[in-house]
């Protein structure tokens, strides 16, 4: 299955959340790979703690591969053996493969979608689908040629299942923007329909993920004054109403990731060790990633709206 991760704005935590989802999915015993299609700023290497590709690869990365610059196969990084983090360097028993396909260092966004680029993209998805249970594709923020390319590629692979995750923060602007990215003019649905997807079927394959969510009853808020808490509560209620008006509400939401200080300071994978041994991460955050990693393949969570 192909999963496309997108967000309208930058800084939503799209990359850090999608990497944590594939990491959890691998721990659950599946073979997974992560494609860094954020060609403008390929940073997935840093999140997986693979120093050699922290800002993209200097070898044949995805960008070179798609543009046909002498690479029949893009560079692959086996995270279980190449990560600099000791806790990640041994594959836990029962875990599946965890492979990163980095972008190019200094690659830049796609200038257009040429037929040859599209053909290569289809070939790549088709080959990876043969090999991996889950292929997570991190598409850059907003409307881009990259998003158009993968929309077209999935039209040409009718028997390969795919789904979209739209990441947004729990604020007024982000909710409106996330809805706009999907339903707005030239959004995912418009573009998808233009390339040959059926609008309703495509809509059913899109779900929202809320990131950095601060619940009004969260433990972090204990020190707040009553007035502050009341204000937050009112805000949250208002946002819920706004979200459901924009159809970004509960039914189309796949999951939410609580605000975790560790992710505000450093984008990284949250391992069980971070929760249980060093206790730098919250158990709720790890549980939310774990839950999402199950839900993305759970058909019940993707039934028609």
């Amino acid at each position: 299955m192909l999963i496309f991760a997108i967000s309208d704005k930058g800084g939503t935590g799209r990359s850090v959340t999608s990497t944590n989802i594939v990491y959890r999915h691998a721990l659950q015993g599946n073979d997974v790979c992560y494609l860094d299609f954020d060609f403008g700023s390929p940073t997935a290497g840093a999140i997986f703690s693979v120093g050699s590709v922290a800002r993209g690869t200097t070898r044949k990365g995805l960008h070179d591969y798609l543009l046909g610059e002498g690479a029949p196969e893009p560079h692959r990084v086996d995270v279980w053996t190449e990560s600099d983090r000791e806790g990640l360097r041994t594959k836990p028993p029962g875990a599946g493969r965890l492979v990163l396909l980095p972008g190019n260092e200094g690659g830049g966004e796609l200038p257009a979608v040429e037929e040859e680029t599209l053909r290569r993209c289809v070939q790549l998805f088709s080959r990876l689908d043969e090999e991996f249970d889950l292929v997570m594709v991190d598409v850059s923020a907003g409307r881009s040629f990259t998003a158009e390319m993968v929309l077209q590629a999935t039209v040409r692979l009718p028997s390969v299942p795919f789904r979209w995750l739209v990441f947004h923060r729990w604020t007024r602007q982000h909710i409106i923007a996330a809805d706009g990215l999907v339903t707005g003019a030239d959004g995912l649905l418009d573009a998808g329909t233009r390339f040959g997807h059926k609008r309703d079927a495509l809509r059913d394959r899109i779900r929202f993920v809320r990131t950095a969510v601060l619940e009004p009853d969260a433990a972090e808020l204990v020190g707040l004054r009553d007035e502050q808490r009341a204000w937050l509560f009112a805000c949250d209620t208002e946002l819920r109403e706004l979200a459901s008006r924009h159809k970004v509400g509960r039914t189309s939401m796949l999951g939410k990731i609580p605000l975790d200080p560790i992710l505000q300071w450093r984008e990284q994978l949250i391992s069980d060790e971070d929760v249980l041994a060093s206790k730098i991460a919250n158990a709720e955050t790890a549980a939310a990633f774990d839950d999402l990693a199950k839900k993305i393949v759970d058909d019940a969570a993707w039934e028609g709206l």
Partner: protein, 308 residues
């Protein structure tokens, strides 16, 4: 001078095995040419040979810039309606002249790449094990495409019973005292260096395809057994994970089925050491024993439940 080839092997992207007639349709890559099928001891269907024109750098251990021009022979095949292969090879020969000839010259010698300039056979062969440079002869890329053509056929439902990586076997054959060396590199990469007496015949390519097929079967079975985590997960769960091996792989082991008698000694030597069939047999026994143990446990549970 020498022959180079690369075989890619993978699981056919279909829920079940496909019948002989579908194999024929899937492999009909070149209209007008017939797909060849043999039925015993296992159904094997192979596409007509197709040519790819190349004019590029050739491999070289000493990093010399050697240019070659000519054609590569490729084909796709399906074994047992379940395993698909893309295979390419070309004979490297010295050119009669130092000048690049028109394509008509090379097309008259299908499957031959002529080297322009000086070259040492050993240098070429040693360089071939390495990944080719961007402007180098990449038989793997050609073979992968021949595999893609089959996998993307609209006649297949793309619902394969399990996910599995393709393996690639790069081979080089030279003339001399008979010898064979099989090396496992990474999880997916293997090389074979083979020395044969007398002239090269396509039977050598058949042998390498047969080796690649069986190496893939062995690799796939090992992966399935690893995923089942025998002993680490409850018996029924392990048994469910082993089931695809029984359904789709165990009956496909037919070493040397299509290998010419003259070359069967190579298979026999590899079967002695490292011992392909020995390893396969022990894995098959392991799968069957696990299923037997699980069945016994299941029966005991049922009869125990009935007595209470």
């Amino acid at each position: 001078m020498l022959v180079m080839g690369e075989v890619h092997t993978g699981l056919l992207q279909n829920s079940g095995e496909i019948p002989e007639s579908t194999c024929r349709d899937v492999l009909q890559l070149l209209s007008g040419e017939r797909v060849r099928v043999s039925r015993r001891p296992i159904v094997y269907a192979v596409s007509p040979d197709l040519l790819t024109g190349v004019d590029c750098r050739l491999p070289s251990a000493s990093q010399s810039r050697i240019r070659g021009a000519g054609t590569v022979l490729s084909r796709s095949s399906i074994t047992g309606g379940r395993v698909v292969q893309g295979s390419s090879y070309t004979r490297i020969e010295r050119s009669g002249s130092d000048r690049r000839q028109p394509w008509s010259h090379y097309l008259a010698r299908p499957g031959v790449v002529e080297v322009l300039g000086k070259v040492k056979s050993r240098d070429l062969a040693d360089g071939f094990a390495e990944d080719p440079p961007a402007d180098g002869l990449d038989l793997g890329a050609i073979s992968a495409r021949f595999l893609d053509v089959v996998q993307s056929s609209p006649l297949l439902d793309r619902r394969a019973p399990f996910k599995i990586a393709r393996t690639r076997l790069r081979w080089v054959a030279e003339q001399g005292e008979p010898a064979i060396r099989f090396t496992l590199h990474s999880e997916q990469m293997r090389t074979v260096r083979l020395v044969h007496t007398g002239e090269f015949t396509p039977a050598v390519a058949d042998l390498c395809e047969d080796l690649a097929l069986h190496d893939w079967l062995l690799t796939a079975l090992l992966v399935i057994i690893e995923r089942a985590r025998i002993g680490g997960t409850p018996g029924p769960e392990a048994a469910v994970k082993l089931a695809p091996a029984v359904d789709h792989l165990l009956h496909l082991w037919m070493p040397s089925a299509r290998v010419d008698d003259v070359l069967s000694a190579y298979w026999e030597s590899l079967d002695r050491r490292p011992g392909f069939t020995r390893q396969w047999q022990s894995l098959v026994d392991r799968v069957r024993d696990q299923l037997a143990v699980h069945t016994l446990a299941f029966l005991r549970e049922k009869s125990g439940g009935g007595a209470r």
